[in-house]
C-alpha cells in the first residue's frame, strides 16, 4: 500500500512539473511596447511584422507599436527618437557599445542569455541577446548564363577580373549590379575588399589607426581601394548604380540585366521571391594570392531593451517575453531560414544548398572576421566614420574623387573624429 501511495505521489509530482514549468509571468495590466528595427531589407521587415503579429496574438495584453521611421537610417532614426524623448522600449541591437555608454540600454536578464550560446559582451556586461551569426559575403550569379557561356566560379582575384571582362565583352548584360542608392549597401563590397586586403595585411588596422601606427594612406590600403574602384572604372558595374536601391538588385539578376551582385546570405530569400524558378549560384571573392578572408561570426546583433523599459515592471516582463518568443524554436527557425542567418544556439536547421555552401566556405576560410562596423573595444570605429567611408566609396565609384584624394580625406576625418573618440586612449569612453 505504501508503495502504491509513494508511486502515486511520484506520478502526481511528475505530472505537476510541466505545469509548473509552463507557468509564465505575465504583465499585470495591458502594456504597450514601442519597437524599433532597421528597415532596409524587405525580407527582414516581413519577418519582423510576422513576429509582431504572432506575439500580439499570443499575448493580447501586450501591444507592440513599431515606431521605425521609413526614410532614415538605423542610427539616424534611433537618435531622432531619442532627441524627442521617445527612445523605444525594445530594439534590434546595433551600435550596442555606443548606446550602452550613453546609458540608454539595459543589461539584459541573465535568464535570457541561457537561450543562446556564447553571447558577446561589452566591457564584461551583456546588453544584447544575440540572434544571429553572419554567413560570409559573396557574389550571387546567374547560373544559367554562366553555364551557357562556360564561365567558371573564380578562385583568385585575377580570375574574377577576367570573368568581369568576359561578361562585359559578351555585352548581353552588365557584369555586376550595385544598389548604391542605399548607402549601407556599399558596405557589402567595401567589407569584402577591406577584409581581403587591409585587415588581411594588418589584423589590428583600426587599433593602429588610433595609435598612429597605421594610416588610411598606407600603401596596402591604397592598393585595396584602387582594386575596389577599378571595378567601377573599368565599367563592370551596371551604369545606373547610384539610383538603384538594395531592394532592386535581385530583380536585376533575375531579369538578366546583370550577371552578378555582392551581398549577404539574406539575399537567397530575396532572389527566390523575385523568381522562384531562377537558377543562381554563389561564390566568395578570393584575394590576389587565392586566399579567402571573409566576414562572419557572432556579433552584437540581436535584441536589446531600454533602461526605461527595464524600470517599468510590466514593460520589463513584456520585453523578456518578446525575446523568448523570438528565440522559440518555431519563430527562430522561420527567422533564420528566411534571412539565411546562422543560429547562435543548438537549433538544427537545413538552410538549403546555397547557405550550406556558404557555411562550408566559411569553415574553410583563411580568416573570418566580424564586420568592421560591428567591432568593439580597441577596434570600435567612431560612429560617424562608417558612412563617411561609404560616401567616399560612392565618390570613387562615380569618379568624383581619386583614390588618393578620398583616402587623404578619410585620414583627415579619422584624425578629427579620433580627437573625441579613441578607445585606445580612453577619450570619449565612459569608465564606470
Amino acid at each position: 500500500m505504501k508503495r502504491m501511495i509513494a508511486l502515486l505521489t511520484a506520478l502526481l509530482l511528475l505530472a505537476a512539473i510541466p505545469a509548473m514549468a509552463e507557468e509564465q509571468v505575465l504583465p499585470s495590466d495591458d502594456v504597450t511596447l514601442t519597437f524599433f528595427a532597421g528597415n532596409g531589407d524587405v525580407k527582414f521587415n516581413e519577418v519582423v511584422e510576422t513576429l509582431i503579429a504572432g506575439f500580439e496574438e499570443e499575448y493580447p495584453m501586450i501591444d507592440v507599436v513599431n515606431v521605425t521611421p521609413t526614410s532614415s537610417s538605423f542610427s539616424e532614426g534611433l537618435k531622432s527618437l531619442d532627441a524627442v524623448g521617445e527612445f523605444p522600449d525594445i530594439m534590434e541591437a546595433r551600435d550596442v557599445p555606443m548606446w550602452a555608454r550613453a546609458g540608454k540600454i539595459a543589461e539584459v536578464d541573465p535568464e535570457l542569455l541561457q537561450l543562446v550560446n556564447n553571447a558577446p559582451n561589452y566591457n564584461g556586461k551583456y546588453y544584447c541577446v544575440p540572434t544571429k551569426s553572419d554567413a560570409p559575403l559573396g557574389f550571387f550569379y546567374n547560373k544559367a548564363y554562366f553555364t551557357e557561356k562556360g564561365f567558371e566560379e573564380p578562385k583568385t582575384y585575377q580570375e574574377f577580373i577576367d570573368l568581369c571582362e568576359a561578361i562585359k565583352a559578351d555585352g548581353k548584360m552588365a557584369p555586376i549590379v550595385v544598389g548604391a542608392a542605399d548607402i549601407w549597401h556599399m558596405g557589402f563590397s567595401w567589407m569584402t575588399w577591406y577584409i581581403n586586403y587591409v585587415t588581411h595585411t594588418d589584423p589590428d588596422f583600426i587599433t593602429h589607426l588610433y595609435t598612429g601606427e597605421a594610416k588610411w594612406t598606407d600603401e596596402y590600403v591604397v592598393e585595396c581601394f584602387t582594386k575596389y574602384a577599378d571595378i567601377y572604372k573599368k565599367g563592370y558595374v551596371e551604369e545606373g548604380f547610384m539610383s538603384t536601391s538594395d531592394s532592386q538588385i535581385a530583380s536585376f539578376l533575375v531579369t538578366g540585366k546583370a550577371a552578378m551582385f555582392i551581398s549577404g546570405a539574406h539575399m537567397v530569400a530575396n532572389i527566390k521571391d523575385a523568381d522562384p524558378s531562377f537558377e543562381f549560384g554563389w561564390f566568395p571573392l578570393y584575394n590576389k594570392n587565392g586566399e579567402l578572408n571573409t566576414w562572419g561570426g557572432p556579433s552584437l546583433n540581436g535584441w536589446m531593451y531600454s533602461v526605461d523599459c527595464q524600470a517599468d515592471e510590466d514593460k520589463n516582463i513584456a520585453a523578456k517575453l518578446w525575446i523568448e518568443f523570438c528565440l522559440r524554436e518555431d519563430n527562430y527557425s522561420n527567422y533564420l531560414t528566411t534571412m539565411s542567418f546562422l543560429p547562435v544556439n543548438d537549433i538544427q536547421l537545413d538552410f538549403g544548398e546555397h547557405v550550406n555552401d556558404m557555411i562550408s566556405v566559411q569553415k574553410a576560410a583563411d580568416s573570418v572576421e566580424v564586420g568592421w562596423n560591428s567591432q568593439w573595444g580597441a577596434k570600435e570605429i567612431p560612429t560617424a566614420f562608417r558612412n563617411f567611408a561609404y560616401k567616399i566609396a560612392q565618390e570613387w565609384a562615380t569618379g568624383t574623387k581619386t583614390i588618393e584624394q578620398g583616402l587623404q580625406e578619410m585620414q583627415t576625418e579619422w584624425d578629427v573624429e579620433s580627437q573625441t573618440f579613441n578607445p585606445v586612449t580612453g577619450v570619449g569612453i565612459v569608465t564606470e
Binding site: S75, M98, G103, G240, S243, A384, E395, T412, E417, G428
Partner: protein
C-alpha cells in the same frame, strides 16, 4: 530740449526706465555669481563670484608646480593644467569688470528716474556699455569653461594627485561646471533691448519707442521659446557632444570651427548651398513672374492654369522628392523611358555631378514656382487699370508698358519673393534627402543637410551645432545685404 524733458517725464518713459532697471537687475544678480560652480560646494567661503575666483586662481597657482610634477600628466594636459590658474584669473577679472559696467548702467537708469538726463552722450553710452558687458561675460565664460574642462580631463587621468588641489577648492569629487542662469540671459536680452532703444532715430523716436512696447509680449514669448533655446545651444558648438552621452560633452573650444573650416566636405556643402540658393532665387522668380503674367493675361481657363501651377506647392518636399526620384531612375524611370522612345540616350539625372545638383534645382523650381506666382499675381491684379490705360494713351506698346509701368509696380513683390526665395534656397532639405541623400558621396550636400547628417546620423551634435551657427551668420549677412539693396530700390520706385 524741451520736448526731451516732456518725453522724459511721460509715463511711457517711466515704464521704459523701470523695466530697463529690472532687466539690468536681472543681469546684475547672476553677474555677481557668474561662473558659479554647479555640482560642487565650495570651501572657505568661496562663492564663485569674481573676487573669490581670483582667490581660487591663487590657490591653484601655488599648488600647481607640485601637481604637475607629481601627477603623471601626458603632454596634451601639462600645458592646459599650467594655464588653469590663469584662465580662472581671467574669468575673475572679466566678472568683476562686467559687474562694474552693468552697475554703471543700473545707476544711469536709476538716475534717469530721478530726472537726470544724460542727453546726447547717453545715446551711445548704453550700447557701448552693453557691448562691453557682453564681451566680458563671453570672455569670462570662455575661460571658465576651458578651466573646468582642464580640471575634468586632469581629474580623469590623475586620480588622487589632482584631487588634492580640487579638494582645496570644493567638497566632493564632482567636477566644476558652468552655471548659465536664465536670469543672466534675460538680463543680456534686456540690455540689448535698451541699447537698441537708444539707437532708434530721434525723429520717429517717440512713436517708435512707445510702439515697441506693443511688441514686448510677443518678443517675450519668442525669446523664451526660440531665442533663448537657440542661444543656449550655441554652447554645444564648443563641445564634443554626441547628442546622447553626457560624458561626451567635453569643452573643446574652437576645435569644431577649425575642423569645419578645414573640411573639404563643408567647402563643397557651402558651394552647393550658395549655388542652389542663387540659381533657385533667380530662376524661381523669373519663372513665377512669367507664369503670373501668362495666367493674368490668359482669356479662358484662368482658374485651371492657376490651380495647375499651384498644385505642386501643396505636395510636401518629401513626396515631391519621391515622385522625382522614381521618375529620374536611370534604369526604370519614366523620363529615361520617354527619352529612349524618342531615340535618345538614357541620362544619369541623380547619379553623377553636376546632373544631380541640377536635378535638385529643377525639382525645387517645379515645386515652388507656383507659390511665388501667386504673390506676383496678386500684385499684378492690384495695379490700377488707370495706369495701364494712361500708358496706352501715351502710345506705349505692350513691351514698354510691361517694363516701365507693370514691373516697377511689382517692386514690393520682388522684395518679398527674392527674400523668401533666398531664405528657402539656403535651407533646402527635403528634396536632397530623398532625391540624392546628399550623394553621390557628399557632392550634393548643403549646409542644412550636412547639419542634420552630422548631428543625427553621425552623432556629432557639437559639430553640427557649430555648423548651424555658421549658417546663421551666412543667412544673416546675405539676408541683410539683399534686404538693404531691395529696400533702396523700393524707395527709388
Amino acid at each position: 530740449m524741451q520736448s526731451d524733458k516732456k518725453k522724459t517725464g511721460s509715463w511711457q518713459h517711466a515704464v521704459r526706465l523701470a523695466l530697463s532697471m529690472l532687466l539690468v537687475m536681472c543681469f546684475l544678480m547672476p553677474m555677481f555669481t557668474i561662473g558659479a560652480w554647479k555640482n560642487v560646494t565650495l570651501k572657505n567661503g568661496l562663492k564663485g563670484n569674481g573676487i573669490t575666483m581670483l582667490s581660487a586662481a591663487q590657490t591653484i597657482d601655488t599648488q600647481l608646480s607640485s601637481i604637475v610634477r607629481k601627477a603623471k600628466l601626458n603632454e596634451g594636459l601639462t600645458s592646459p593644467v599650467a594655464d588653469a590658474g590663469a584662465r580662472l584669473r581671467v574669468t575673475g577679472f572679466a566678472t568683476m569688470a562686467g559687474l562694474i559696467a552693468s552697475a554703471v548702467m543700473f545707476l544711469m537708469c536709476f538716475a534717469e528716474t530721478l530726472g537726470v538726463n544724460f542727453a546726447r552722450k547717453r545715446k551711445m553710452l548704453f550700447p557701448i556699455l552693453a557691448a562691453v558687458v557682453v564681451v566680458l561675460m563671453a570672455l569670462g565664460m570662455w575661460n571658465f569653461m576651458s578651466f573646468a574642462q582642464t580640471i575634468r580631463d586632469a581629474a580623469a587621468v590623475t586620480d588622487e594627485a589632482f584631487a588634492k588641489i580640487t579638494n582645496k577648492l570644493y567638497q566632493g569629487d564632482a567636477v566644476p561646471e558652468m552655471k548659465i542662469s536664465v536670469w543672466a540671459v534675460l538680463g543680456i536680452l534686456g540690455m540689448l533691448a535698451m541699447a537698441a532703444l537708444q539707437l532708434l532715430p530721434e525723429k520717429k523716436g517717440a512713436m517708435s519707442k512707445s510702439l515697441l512696447w506693443f511688441v514686448l509680449p510677443a518678443l517675450t514669448m519668442y525669446s523664451c521659446f526660440v531665442i533663448f533655446p537657440a542661444l543656449s545651444s550655441v554652447y554645444l558648438g564648443f563641445t564634443s557632444y554626441d547628442g546622447i552621452t553626457e560624458a561626451s560633452m567635453r569643452f573643446i573650444g574652437l576645435d569644431n570651427y577649425k575642423n569645419i573650416f578645414a573640411s573639404a566636405r563643408f567647402h563643397s556643402a557651402t558651394f552647393n548651398t550658395i549655388c542652389i540658393a542663387a540659381v533657385f532665387t533667380v530662376f524661381v522668380n523669373v519663372i513665377a513672374l512669367m507664369l503670373a503674367v501668362a495666367v493674368d493675361k490668359v482669356r479662358w481657363g484662368k482658374n485651371i492654369f492657376r490651380s495647375a501651377f499651384y498644385l505642386p506647392v501643396l505636395i510636401s518636399g518629401i513626396i515631391a522628392g519621391f515622385i522625382w526620384r522614381i521618375m529620374f531612375n536611370y534604369s526604370f524611370g519614366v523620363v529615361n523611358f520617354v527619352f529612349n522612345m524618342l531615340g535618345m540616350e538614357s541620362v544619369k539625372f541623380i547619379d553623377t555631378m553636376p546632373n544631380a545638383l541640377l536635378s535638385i534645382i529643377f525639382v525645387l523650381l517645379w515645386k515652388n514656382a507656383g507659390y511665388y506666382m501667386v504673390i506676383y499675381l496678386a500684385a499684378l491684379q492690384s495695379i490700377s487699370p488707370d495706369l495701364l490705360e494712361a500708358a496706352s494713351i501715351d502710345g506705349a506698346n505692350s513691351r514698354q508698358t510691361f517694363f516701365h509701368v507693370t514691373l516697377p509696380m511689382l517692386a514690393g513683390s520682388f522684395t518679398i519673393n527674392l527674400t523668401l526665395a533666398l531664405i528657402n534656397g539656403l535651407k533646402v532639405y527635403d528634396e536632397i534627402a530623398i532625391l540624392t541623400d546628399g550623394g553621390p558621396g557628399f557632392s550634393t550636400e548643403t549646409i542644412t543637410y550636412m547639419i542634420y547628417k552630422v548631428a543625427f546620423g553621425e552623432m556629432r551634435q557639437g559639430y553640427g551645432t557649430a555648423m548651424a551657427v555658421i549658417l546663421f551668420f551666412i543667412i544673416l549677412v546675405l539676408g541683410g545685404v539683399q534686404s538693404t539693396m531691395l529696400r533702396k530700390r523700393e524707395v527709388q520706385v
